[in-house]
């Protein structure tokens, strides 16, 4: 065992590739949180009164709430909200008319991340096009392909722009899935969020390209609070991608986001995340605290919402992408790979709330723990009275590497309708030395062997990701776990 642990230590050192920071001129709020700061943010963004009211209501509610520390299988110090900067934005030199006027440092930042904000470049490529909304330190920098999408009536823009340009849609849907008072971190976000993405797909339109938001935390000492709102009208379809990275810093940085999805009758929304926030170093110093509320509602009959996530980063992950299955025959899916290494902690899973008749949900969760990390699956399946013939199938697998990590499963099942069929399967396994030796004997190095075995283990989930994203996720898994034999 001693030898195994050494091997793990040797090989676990997959380095975080995105640990640099950029020197960009910033416009920041004073440190700390108060009603003045909430007003400051709203004013900075030249928001209408109703938006300020929404923020203040959430803030006042938040003051009365307690940090949810008792139930999650997570251990971290109390967060000092007076030591966080709640608003940081790259300083615009002037009103931006074209990409040429964007701070070249900013463009370089995104180029370094492999994200092109130049549409022309992408057009000439053979690969499928992706429209990107780039968000740095909570502020949307640039949304690509806006005009192309507008031809189909699709709205894809920063949340701030949407508040100004589409107030009716925002008023109607914002907070309709995750109320401003929903939970501690959702209330915090609702009070101080600075930007995010908004997407509306009109009736019967199939979005012709993948939409994507790329989040980057850059500034020191700041929290990132963005919100995403996706509305798919009747019969619409959209596939949405989200990517995240952050610089390596010794301190912990807070990320508390909200994602709301609304699917009307016969609409389908597919939301994929590759979360790679800085996880902290080997000793658990630094890293992002990721407290995120993601929820979708299948409002209309025959609608579908599908969450796919590959979680490799963050010091702490607290995240339960959920689906409320209100419409009859609606479908909710949750596919997840959560990797924890070193001192990382993850408490993640989903909630499937069945309200409509014949609603179906599928949960496939693959946890991988290495180092001294702790990885928990927490999931709720609730079948309400009247949700006749609702069905759920859950599969929760845990993979352990080494003998110093932990894997935990907390499934909650509440059934109020007798006609429901709910299945839950769970397995725990270790990467076998036998498997690694078998690969070695065929000439495959231990590092590559782990990559193969882990990717094989996650295949069901990775298959759900759009092509470009799947390749990225596979590489990320290999880097995060290089050679952690158990």
């Amino acid at each position: 065992m001693q030898k195994q642990n050494e091997l793990i230590d040797q090989q676990i050192g997959g380095e975080y590739k995105y640990g640099w920071s950029s020197d960009i001129e910033m416009d920041t709020a004073p440190m700390g949180l108060s009603e003045e700061i909430v007003r400051f943010i709203s004013k900075k963004k030249k928001e209408p009164d109703w938006m300020l009211e929404f923020r203040l209501k959430a803030y006042r509610h938040w003051l009365k709430m307690e940090e949810p520390k008792h139930w999650a299988h997570l251990d971290y110090p109390v967060i000092d909200f007076q030591k966080i900067i709640f608003y940081a934005a790259p300083k615009p030199k002037k009103e931006l008319k074209s990409l040429d006027e964007v701070d070249p440092e900013l463009l370089k930042t995104f180029e370094k991340l492999g994200i092109s904000l130049e549409e022309q470049k992408r057009l000439s490529g053979v690969e499928s096009r992706i429209a990107v909304d780039a968000v740095i330190d909570s502020v949307s920098v640039k949304t690509t392909f806006k005009e192309t999408l507008a031809e189909k009536g699709i709205i894809f823009c920063s949340f701030s722009d949407a508040v100004q340009e589409h107030p009716d849609l925002i008023k109607r849907y914002m907070g309709s899935v995750v109320p401003g008072t929903d939970n501690y971190f959702a209330a915090l976000n609702s009070a101080v969020f600075s930007d995010g993405s908004f997407c509306y797909i009109p009736k019967g339109v199939r979005c012709p390209m993948e939409l994507s938001t790329y989040f980057r935390i850059n500034a020191i000492g700041t929290g990132q609070f963005e919100r995403t709102l996706i509305v798919a009208d009747e019969g619409a379809y959209v596939s949405y991608l989200e990517g995240c990275t952050a610089p390596m810093r010794d301190e912990n940085q807070l990320h508390a986001a909200i994602v709301e999805i609304v699917a009307h009758e016969k609409a389908e929304v597919k939301y994929s995340t590759v979360q790679n926030w800085y996880p902290g170093d080997v000793n658990g110093k630094g890293g992002i605290y990721n407290f995120v509320t993601k929820r979708g509602i299948c409002l209309g009959d025959d609608s579908k919402i599908s969450w796919t996530q590959v979680e490799t980063g963050s010091a702490i992950t607290w995240k339960y992408p959920s689906v409320i299955l209100k419409g009859n025959n609606s479908v909710g899916e949750f596919y997840s790979v959560a990797v924890t290494n070193n001192m990382q902690q993850a408490d993640t899973g989903t909630k499937m709330i069945h309200i409509g008749k014949n609603t179906r949900s599928t949960i496939v969760s693959k946890g991988i723990s290495a180092g001294k990390s702790n990885n928990s699956y927490r999931g709720l399946v609730r079948i309400n009275k009247g949700a006749t013939r609702a069905r759920n199938h859950s599969q929760c697998d845990s993979l352990l590497m080494g003998d110093r990590c932990g894997a935990h499963t907390f499934p909650y099942i509440e059934i109020k309708d007798k006609s429901a069929i709910v299945e839950h399967e769970a397995t725990t396994s270790k990467i076998g030395e036998d498997q690694v030796f078998y690969c070695n004997q065929r000439g495959i190095s231990t590092e590559k062997a782990i990559g193969l075995i882990v990717n094989g283990y996650c295949k069901e989930v990775l298959n759900q990701l759009p092509m470009e994203f799947a390749v990225e996720a596979q590489k990320l898994l290999a880097v995060s776990l290089e050679g952690s034999v158990g």
């Binding site: 076998g432 030796f437 070695n440 004997q441 000439g443 075995i453």
Partner: protein
């Protein structure tokens, strides 16, 4: 090709191999027989480099290199192949992908350019035919849900793909019915060449009807107690191990 001198090895402090001496020349087929617990599988594990076993003495030269100093993947890349008695399942990883990775690593080690996709696929087709392996099996996950016979055939298929200079078959006949045995043996026979040697480990003479060895060795209590040609195997079959090891 392979020269084993006074090899001693054990597990958890218990000595199992107590001084093995064996010379294998290029293109030769050596059968190693012996009762349960005589050390047959330990010998194959030690040669392949399984770390559970501790080598306590002796030396092994493989094509002039000190085999015991190489790690398992280097031994494989040098041309040593072990057909496992119990092939391992790797869920979610297709045999094709598995072999592609293995061949890429071996070629890189040897300083050869990467194999083109179309050449690789052509090779897969050819070698599959050799062991009468259905095309669909190679696209399924490695050994997952395979029958005993399919697993063994898959081992020989992999051997054909990796083109080793020394192949060790560890009780490849165990758990095979007579038809499967014939298919596997045919595959092996087609792979025999003047530059490829085989070590065939088995309990039974039966396999040696199909894969005819040049030499037969009897392993007993960690030592080779008798060597001969294929007649020795016949003799063993008739008299059992008792007389020989007395």
């Amino acid at each position: 090709m392979l020269s084993i001198k006074n090899l001693k090895a054990g597990i958890d402090g218990k000595e199992i191999l107590k001084g093995i001496n064996l010379e294998i020349g290029a293109g030769e087929v050596h059968a190693i027989m012996g009762p349960n617990g005589s050390g047959k599988s330990t010998l194959s594990s030690v040669l392949a480099g399984r770390t559970d076993y501790e080598v306590t003495g002796g030396e092994v030269l493989f094509n002039g290199k000190n085999l015991l100093e190489l790690n398992p993947e280097e031994r494989a890349r040098e041309g040593l192949f072990l057909a496992f008695q119990y092939p391992v399942e790797i869920p979610g990883v297709s045999t094709i992908n598995f072999l592609k990775t293995a061949i890429a690593e071996i070629r890189e080690y040897k300083g050869l350019p990467a194999l083109e996709a179309k050449d690789f696929l052509k090779m897969v087709k050819e070698k599959q035919a050799l062991v009468e392996l259905k095309g669909s099996l190679a696209s399924r996950a490695v050994n997952e849900g395979f029958s005993g016979g399919e697993k063994k055939r898959n081992e020989i298929f992999q051997m054909a793909m990796l083109e080793p200079t020394l192949a060790i078959l560890d009780e490849t006949d165990s758990g095979l019915d007579i038809d499967a045995l014939r298919v596997v043996a045919n595959g092996v026979n087609k792979l025999r060449s003047s530059t490829r040697s085989f070590v065939v480990i088995t309990h039974y003479q039966r396999l040696l009807d199909y894969i005819v060895p040049d030499f037969v060795h009897v392993l007993f209590e960690g030592r080779i107690v008798k060597s001969g040609d294929k007649e020795l195997a016949m003799e063993l079959e008739k008299k059992g191990y008792g007389e020989l090891t007395r």
